[in-house]
């Protein structure tokens, strides 16, 4: 790390918020995914202007930079790939305004997702997108990944709930994309920015749309002895024209981990569980709940439970939301995939997932947004065991290949990042990718902002930069840690 550059960063954000020693920056080598890579430095600006100043300092020295929020992402999007500094939005964490009559919130990117709904709650409003990590993940990262969530089946993902974004461009300029109204004339630049995985600039403020809290919510738990029966029930519910607020599925392995965490009384002997929120006006809700319960029973549910009160409902959802982290109870490491398939393909796809597990000798737990066909197979492995991480990556690649073969996509909401960049050719032609690259270049011509993400490097899907080398993940991380600062 160049001493003068470090001094320049310190001059902008203060000494405490410019981290340059190995001890401090090592904590930024990871996110919630499986990739690990050290930045050259980490800065934590305290305002939009400081972000812009840091970016301009990077431009002057041709330094590359990676925006980072809470670091809960699952595709390596917030870690530095190669020589770059991390610009953290963790200190930009104020809710600037809740405008109840206009149902909007103005927030900084480091605001925790769940805190927006908590602040809107006294006004009878909520911020709908609710990723499972909502207690920790932040709005900036949600925008970067166009995050989904449990209730996005009925209400749409992040892009449907963000009206405007103030950004610092990769050149260090400050711009507003979109605004406070539902539609702004001209190109939908906010729409372009959302889901761009931090490659088009750094969000420093966002105008979020708030929605009324539904009058009533009923939560059903459908208990099935076969995953086929559960997936058939999913298709039947949607086929009947019912749009549940959320429609989630967990298999037996996932349930066992979740139950160990929350103790919600989930049956660990069931093959599959469906967790269903029916929400809306009180009138008529009972009829919908009855209809969903009878569809589940028709399709072979051995039992359908209805949560009796708020705390019981919260406990069921807490279990679902903690499912990824709960894998730590049954395995030292996990690698979560994020494929999407048409709902009708669910039964066949689950067999593909099981086959990938058998082929690579690894256990795979399944948790997913069944309602919109977004799978989250959790591939369990132990990074300390020689070759297991590589096998996990290979199993993941097989699953993604199967998703594409079944007419789906390689990512629903976790992003491509580092992790799946070499799987992009499974789904896109070189022409498609080149077209995307032209869009990126319009914002980020020098590839200075979050370099190395999304676009393939030429390796095979499932073969990361490090897996080409031999050794365990820890040895590779150690090798990285030994690189000069």
């Amino acid at each position: 790390m160049d001493v003068r550059f470090a001094a320049a960063l310190e001059a902008i954000v203060g000494r405490r918020h410019a981290l340059t020693t190995p001890q401090e920056i090592r904590a930024y080598a990871y996110d919630g995914g499986v990739d690990r890579s050290l930045p050259l430095a980490v800065v934590l600006p305290g305002s939009t202007e400081e972000v812009a100043a840091v970016v301009r300092a990077c431009c002057e020295r041709d330094m590359r930079f990676v925006p980072r929020g809470a670091g809960t992402g699952l595709s390596g999007g917030a870690i530095a790939a190669g020589d770059a500094i991390v610009i953290s939005t963790a200190r930009l964490c104020r809710i600037l305004e809740i405008d109840a009559p206009n149902r909007i919130a103005l927030v900084e990117p480091g605001v925790v997702n769940a805190d927006v709904s908590a602040a809107a709650h006294p006004h009878g409003l909520r911020y709908v997108p609710d990723p499972s990590s909502m207690a920790a993940c932040t709005i900036g990262g949600n925008i970067a990944e166009n995050s989904g969530g449990l209730h996005c089946l009925a209400y749409g993902v992040t892009s449907a709930h963000v009206l405007g974004i103030r950004i610092v461009t990769p050149d260090g300029d400050i711009e507003w994309l979109g605004g406070k109204t539902v539609d702004t004339p001209g190109y939908d630049l906010a729409g372009v920015f959302i889901g761009s995985e931090g490659t088009l600039g750094i969000a420093t403020q966002a105008v979020l749309a708030l929605s009324p809290i539904p009058e009533t919510v009923q939560t059903l738990l459908g208990i099935f002895d076969s995953t086929d029966a559960a997936t058939a029930a999913v298709s039947a519910i949607i086929g009947r024209g019912i749009v549940p607020g959320a429609l989630e599925m967990m298999d037996a392995l996932a349930t066992s981990a979740v139950e160990a965490d929350v103790g919600a009384g989930l049956p660990t002997d069931a093959a599959a569980l469906l967790l269903i929120d029916i929400e809306g006006l009180r009138d008529g809700l009972e009829g919908t709940v009855d209809a969903v319960a009878s569809i589940c029973r028709e399709r072979g549910a051995r039992e359908v439970r209805i949560a009796q009160d708020g705390p019981q409902r919260d406990l069921l959802w807490k279990g679902r939301k903690s499912a990824f982290g709960a894998m730590g109870r049954i395995s030292p490491d996990y690698y979560v995939q994020d494929g999407v398939i048409p709902r009708s393909q669910l039964p066949a796809m689950l067999r593909d997932v099981a086959a990938a597990g058998t082929k690579h000798g690894l256990r795979i737990a399944n948790v997913f947004h069944a309602g919109d066909g977004n799978l989250h197979p959790l591939i369990l492995f132990d990074k300390q065991k020689e070759g297991e991480f590589d096998r996990a990556l290979a199993a993941g690649a097989d699953i993604l290949q199967a998703c594409v073969a079944r007419g789906g996509s390689i990512s629903g909401e976790h992003g491509i990042g580092l992790e799946k960049r070499d799987c992009m050719p499974l789904q896109f032609t070189p022409e498609d990718l080149s077209f995307m690259d032209r869009l990126k270049s319009a914002f980020n011509p020098d590839d200075r902002c979050n370099p190395g993400k999304i676009f393939p490097t030429g390796r095979r899907c499932g073969e990361s930069a490090r897996t080409a080398k031999s050794g365990t993940l820890d040895e590779r991380t150690a090798a990285l840690a030994g690189e000069p600062f």
């Binding site: 904590a27 980490v42 934590l44 809470a70 982290g325 300390q384 820890d474």
Partner: protein, 426 residues
Amino acid sequence: MSAPAQPHGIGTCTRCGLCQQACPTYRDWRLEADSPRGRVEIVERIAAGERPDAAMAEHLYACLGCRACETACPSGVPFGDLLEFGRREVERTGTLAPERGGWRTFRSFVFERVLPSRALFGAMMMPAKTLRHMPTLARLLRSLPMSSGARRALAMASIETPMGNGRLPAHSKAIGERRARVALFTGCVMDALFGGVNEALVRVLRSSGCDVVAPSGQWCCGALNVHAGEQRRALAMARRNIEAFERADAEAIVVDSAGCGAHMKSYGRLLEGEPAFADRAAAFAGKTVDATEYLDRIGVTMNRPPSARRVTYQDACHLAHGQKIRQAPRALLRAMPGVEFVELRDADRCCGAAGVYSLTHPAMSQRVLDEKLAKIAEAGVDTVTVTNPGCHLQLAPALAQRGVRVRHVVELVDEAIHHSSRGTAF
């Protein structure tokens, strides 16, 4: 350097980050290395054989040890155990930052000399006891220039605590039909400054049909030692308590300090490597119950309104996060006649006391306390109840100025059974 023996729970953290917002230091500083997963990362490096340097030590000591991250963690990472391991290795092999120069002296004096010795601890407590009877002297001392840590210690020393009448009988018979024989853990700080709480607990247990023994030979549980990375004396203190309570032959060991209880429940793990003590430590741990947990379990009859009207409860970290006990104290408070129980917003967030943290990290401790005080003000109560002496000492000086009392839950239970009979003889 060789890798130390691997601590329990190493490798269970998946870096999902769900712990971050539960952490008081992360919420305030927003630095990853001062978040739970950042600290786990540091501990994992130490476990892998890396020698802890001053920066790593600083991050581990900046932690309050509140274990709120354990509640947030879906993966079941035993953060408290990992932290104790990390600090132990820091003390064994590591270096500290120059500005922490005083820590080692403080540490060796407090944890290796004072806490293991009942006599020395008692002598150290004398000034505190004296100060209470001499408010003018306390005011004079407060006007002197001193460090913020010393100022805080002085504030704690000069507040009114329920010292009791100093007469805790070795044996007390159950009143009415005998339902159980229990042993009372009297502790160090509880014994010295909160004797009145121990006495109230004995009265409540007797009235609820328990024979109560207070075994001689017991002393400090050693929790503060392990939290500060001190193990040798901590092991000796655990062994001494195990022996003392074996002689008591009681079916439960009741403790009214959450921090002690959490540590006593972990004696099994602490001594699992010692064949002569492993089973006995596990048996001790298995018998240990928090006072509120036990009273809620056996059921108490409360007929009289205690001297508090609008009451809230501050979760002790080592009760809520350490022992997963939240409902028992609340159930007792709700069942009291004439008491309106109000839930405190974010009641299970640390108050900033955190053992000796308020003395070693006064600035952060004060910010955490300020946040807590604002929420207590919001609740509009006349009494805040606690289950741990650290919380009591942290909250009382600030709340006294606002006319809000701090009471142990057991004190109010006692009043609700015996009608403010704090002076009643045994």
